[in-house]
Symmetry: D2
Subunit: 332 residues, 4 copies
């Protein structure tokens, strides 16, 4: 049985808590949050101790692992503290928003040698993974083009946007930057990005980019396109298309039901799921399961700190291109 | 160049006239209709002679073929006259609504030896034909079940219904009875039918069945289901499903466009085509082309009088079952 | 917290055990099976007591509910014992294979007044339920036709088949007989059934029907078709189509992923799920959750003994029709 | 009746010839080709005069219109000669590959005032047009992103490639450049393009780009992506996706049949059509019909010389970006 401390009781925290509760080999033993009420509520629901002091939890000799669900800028110190306490770490992406800070983290992780995983959850979605496996097994031959559509139904609240300018790169497309590396098993050598503010002043008061189109060249030659928006009113839209000299693969959207309604106005299906937590519910379960397995068996967790660093590098270069209007080179 | 006389300028007549006009090896030279104005209008459009006297057209030594598009009860005498005049005949289904009358026709056709084709147009639809060819080539192994959905958007006008009681068998499902024979290359040995009047008094004043479900057993063992309705408000719904020991095939509906609309209320496609002439436009073209080829090369046209007789026999037995409430045996 | 005793550790038992373990308000406290090793293995996995003596478990005053997953012929005595012990009961379908025995059970349930639920799991599938709700909310107006395709990838082992002749009615289509009652909120007044043995001697040595087509008439007039097979090599195929005067609804199959592969040989999707437990995983979760809620709140569980009786009556009448070759009347 | 002279009997010429033959108000009266045998063969098939001397045909006072299907570099002189002869002109795209030459043509057309149409056939495809009309009618609100996938199954023969370097811009994506202007009713202000040579030396001996990704910014703010390849082994792949603040529209591929095959290896549909002439058969029919209508009624044909010039300007700027590696500005 692997004992977990969940740090961060809001947003994605309860998802991991529920998955831990349902997992045969894991146990939620601590919930830590600066918001003590939130920590307590979640702790009580699953019979875990709760508090606002991470150090207390890390001092628990029975604790095996920490799962970090706090806001991005707090990840690095939590990672370092947990690593120094010898705990295995599952950290929601990103490691940090600053490359130098990520590097510092990486050094601590290297010194302590604790198991570390960055939560790029999309890699664990059954359809995206089937796409990945089909590419690897040669279904489309040599990959030549990759097209990722990555669209959220709405923009984050203004204070969240203010805290992370160019969040469409750092918070959203960073998933796609990870996916393209993973799917193509390759690194980009160039990125070009164009952004726009399509939402009005009320929805997007900070005029932070809410729409983006990106083109990347990979070191092995493939071309990649990513498009992203914070206004997919029809639902959380997540599609990937891989094209090669032997064919094409499409990882399409998931539907809440398969119901088809035929009426005078045509044929209708349900809207897409609206919330990423619903769309990727299965991914979160599988990701946690693989992390638990890794901790149990001593294997390396699926996604390491270098993966976190690489995705951030691409996001940073993309922001520089968006600001300058010209392509930016990347080191493969 | 094959010279055609079109008999019957209404409804399906203009479809054949347009296809003849566009065909490289056929020519519309006569249009005959008791409604002289209709005959003239169509004749003028395509540069053909027109009139109400079939005998005049049949006396034309340049005339090669007759295409019969008049109401069902007039088919037999026209067939016989055309056969005796030595013309090739393309007759819209049914040959007649009375089996004895069909037999009489068949004798004249046998005596005269003219090329004869019954217009079961669905056999020429590209998707239904692909289904047929896939069954023949063993894609699903031995066929075990066949399910046909055959639904019209509306019932015929009251006088048309009055002229042909149980038209859902004689006019609509007769197509399916032909299809099941052709698809399975087999004959039914039993039919059970249940009907209902679902439309209200105004739409269906004669209370003729407007809804039907049928189960048939084939001589080689397959079970077949047909369902039919005169009230598919969402469009002309025509699907066939063939199930065997190696798999299943579905011939689905055709869509006017492939446009998908994603909005707040879900994902929408166009309604199905509403009119059988639009749905089967390509079938009518291919059917005529094959008939022209047969006449030109001296080959036997695709669907003979025996096929017309068999489909009518099944329809008749189905009506007897619907009336009696018990299954009716058929001679394979 | 509702304490459960699981009776029957094979087949569907482990599914319920896992769902109980993951449920926030339920606890698996006992596993009973005549096969003591099986009971023990499952009990140990979830920290429950195990044994082969149901009486011992029923004597546990902390026990709230029993979930019955044993072979059909053992259901009735277990139900009666559990009812007399005052426990809430979740019983896998059928209640029994004999109507008189079901009636005896029903009397004990009425006397004791314990909460009782029959596990027709399909009612809890999200897509089937969306279909149900759409019918109820008037999406298709008055229902006129219902078509259910209910096909298993393989036949049960010979001894299972021998123990339940005409299992395609009693074990498989009984689900569809329940669904049609639930979806149409109506009772059948007539059933006609035709069956066939399509599997060879080796696969189906008892020559029990492995293929069936059924037509039913409902008291409010709708016509219903069910087709079933034990040889859907392409996967567990479960579709329902409801047709009415305002449109049509289709509850289609579920796919393991949404991946599309485009290659020289066409466009390919994954095969359907092969196993009913995978296809209906979500249904089992939701069903148990609703049962737990009912027990907790004192509400009546969703599906009562009368529902079990009605579905069995239809199956029985269907078998009589299949044997006699003529339709059989049913009391609405 | 509008009398046509077809100039260029190869490739797309026979498509227009067949459509003219089937058109009620048009007649093919001349076929001109430097390859006299090709001109004769096509002329004989449709009962038209044939020859290699365009002047002879243009001198025919009964001739109303010229349809230009010759190689791109010959379009301009033919257009000018036909315009000076007072004939209506349907010219396959492009007008010319050189902007100055297009401008010279435009002056002659302006002076002579003859009806002129550039054959951007995709605008007449029923699905693309439904997409266009849905955008215009506000279905997706303000368009924010447009994604066009434009992939050919194979590269043109080496001599054709040699005659038109960067043909992926000038010959293929020029269609998309026209589509994006038409769909968005807007002009681009910037284009960025990246290309690659993915085909091997044998298939692409001139190492001309065979793969391309493009991002454009439109004057009203929308972002546009085009991706193109000469190696879609799975068929002619033509999709357009329009995203706006009220939803998304997808113009998907067309399928030769709707047949679905369910087997052990999954669910299979036919490959896409392989040839643009099959995919766009209906577009060519509708385009010609609208041109005939325009000539008959004196209306302006749908796509004028300025549209031809604009699409070429975008292609040119795209090539400059591909060569320089930086975005290129365009005048709206």
């Amino acid at each position: 049985m692997i004992d977990f401390c969940l740090v961060g009781a809001g947003f994605i925290g309860p998802v991991h808590a529920a998955n831990l509760a349902a997992h045969a080999k894991a146990r939620l033993s601590w919930v830590i949050d600066l918001n003590l009420a939130a920590a307590r509520a979640l702790g009580e629901k699953y019979g875990a101790r709760s508090g606002s002091d991470l150090a207390a939890a890390l001092a628990d000799p029975d604790l095996d692992a920490v799962i970090v669900c706090t806001p991005p800028r707090t990840h690095a110190p939590i990672i370092e503290a947990a690593a120094r306490a010898g705990k295995a770490i599952f950290c929601e992406k990103p490691v940090d928003l600053d490359l130098a800070r990520v590097d510092a983290c990486a050094r601590v992780l290297a010194e302590t040698g604790v198991p570390f995983h960055v939560g790029f959850n999309r890699r664990f979605d059954p359809t995206h993974r089937a796409l990945h496996d089909a590419i690897r097994s040669g279904d489309i031959g040599r990959p030549e083009m990759l097209v990722l559509s990555s669209r959220d139904p709405e923009i984050s609240p203004p204070d969240y946007v203010a805290a992370m300018p160019y969040g469409i790169f750092y918070d959203t497309m960073i998933h796609d930057f990870d996916m393209l590396r993973w799917l193509l098993n390759d690194e980009p050598v160039e990125i070009y990005a164009r952004t726009a503010c399509m939402l009005d002043e009320k929805e997007n008061p900070h005029r932070d980019p809410d729409t983006a189109m990106v083109v990347l060249r990979m070191s092995k030659g493939a071309l990649v396109h990513v498009n992203s928006s914070f206004r997919a009113v029809y639902g959380y839209d997540q599609r990937i298309e891989a094209f090669g000299d032997k064919g094409m693969l499409i990882s399409g959207n998931h539907h809440p039901t398969s119901l088809e309604r035929h009426g005078l106005d045509g044929i209708r299906r349900d809207p897409l799921l609206h919330f990423f937590i619903d769309r990727y519910a299965e991914s979160y379960r599988r990701e946690l399961d693989l992390f638990v397995q890794a901790v149990e068996t001593g294997a390396t967790p699926p996604i390491g700190v270098e993966d976190g660093r690489r995705a951030l590098m691409i996001a940073e270069a993309g922001v520089r291109s968006a600001k300058s209007g010209v392509p930016v080179a990347l080191q493969a």
